[in-house]
Amino acid sequence: MYNKLSIGSFLLFLTFAVFPAVSYADTPFYTQPIGTTHSTFQANLGTLTATTSGAFSAGSLNAFDFTANAKTHDLPILGTASVQTYTDVGCAIGVINYAFPTVTVLGDNVEHLETVNLTSPASLSGVHCIVVSLSNNGFFTGAGQYYLSDGAAAPNAVPQMNLYGTAIDTSTHIETVTPVSGSTIATSTAATFAATGFVNSADYISGSYLQIQYALYANSQVAVSNPQLLFTTLNFPITSSGAFSFSTTSPATRGGIYTMQTQIRTPSLINSALNFLGFGQFANVGIATATSTKFTAAAPNGFDVFVASTTASLEAYMASSTISLAACSSWTAFNLGDCLNLIFVPQLQPISQALNDFKNGFLAYAPWGYVTRIVVILSGTATTTLPAISINIPLGNPNIPAQYTNGTFTLDTNAMLQGGKNTLNTVHTSFGGDLSFQDVAEPLVKLSVALALMMFIAHDLLSMRGGRSRSRPTKLS
């Protein structure tokens, strides 16, 4: 019995002495808790720089390649309790010149950044910084020889490891929500909804949960008996105090603006009692903290587009108007003529924009969109150079190869066209100034065309074709 215990104790001793619970490649030399952001801690990089040395010129940027001395170096961060209150923990490698304390370490020397896993405090003891390799690090030095080694061998320049972290807000709060407020997401059957935050141990009550509710604004435009039913509700149980991070997917298939409410909800004794007594309908949960955000799902519906575009178009109309709104809205600047003009006379730019929107929107829909497209093409102004046409013509006697050749006849239609134009433009008037035939005749042609067009349209609109419209029975007749 004694021997068995002795052997067991010896083996147990060996286990802890030879194989420590957490093993790293190098002996942990840094055992302090994480300081405030960018606080500096000295650290000896040990074998990383034992054989590294270099000469640098004074006052200039000196680059030194550490690649040849690349080592895997492990910096454990000890002290679980303190780590829990920090996030974005990382470390940086640099060189401090003790002879010239104003040395500037250039560049981002962070070789590895490991973020604390906030949802699993047990894993925090394993947080460590790993120096995988150092390369092309540059820094200013003074004159002379500087060795990159530990302080004992060459005290001029000592590598330094900085450990930093950001303090976590330990009050009960909601840190982030997804979708981010004001953002636009794509409509999807699996949109991501997420929230992160922290529950202080003093505020934590068993049975707490995070609740995300979201609903389309447009749904609230109609009267409903129970508005709560408009919301899609997602619940995430909070099983312990500390940081939390929840994420799930849920449909947001309709486009438009959504309202989203995120709450940390806690049960209460009164609620428990009401539930126990069968009056659960009167139970109400407490809301520890809440945030209300909104987001937009892409492809907003017509109502949202109309509301947004109407507001924007009013501002655009006023911005383009030559008449101030004050002509109608101000007691002192009121002007009846300007006001009538503003209200009833269309402004060219916004009207053409509105008509253009009509053409590009409604008139582009199939099937009449094909007609619109044809009209758009026919209304274009781009010209295409007329092609040259080449014809191969056999010349000579086909029975005698020596006399037979293949002649090419090219008809350059563009050159012919331009030649005709130039010929026409050589006709000039001998009186009334130097006017070409086009200058004289084109206004008359345009006038004729315009008059004919007006007559066609007026005739069509006024239904002067034998009173056909009157003879046609309609619902109103």
């Binding site: 519906n301 017509g302 587009v305 109309f306 575009s309 109407t310 178009s313 109309y317 503003l342 209200i343 009833f344 269309p346 402004q347 009207i351 509105a354 008509l355 929107d357 009509f358 409604f362 008139l363 582009a364 829909y365 199939a366 009449w368 969109g369 094909y370 007609v371 619109t372 497209r373 044809i374 009209v375 093409i377 026919l378 274009g380 781009a382 010209t383 295409t384 150079t385 007329l386 563009n414 066209l417 005709g420 134009k421 026409l424 086009q438 084109e442 042609v445 345009k446 065309v449 315009a450 067009l453 066609f456 069509d460 609109l461 239904s463 056909r468 419209s469 046609r472 309609t474 619902k475």
Partner: protein
Amino acid sequence: MIWYYVILFVTQLLTTVFSWLPSITTLPTIGGVDVDTYLVQAVGFFYSFTSAFWPIGDLYQGVMVYVGYLTIKMVLKFIIGHRAPH
């Protein structure tokens, strides 16, 4: 302002109501013939021609305005039926 909002309202209403219809950006390819490209090219040739012989261009412009008028009338007739101008 009044007419602007009438046009805006009609545009938004019709665009919303018919938003389920596909939007046409190009003419189709029929039997391997890219109608859109050929039509664009043909119109380009025609404009090149009318740049030299302007009376044809002026007449064409008049015809196009009339076609535009007929198109608008056709759309109106489609939307509001017999109450559109005949």
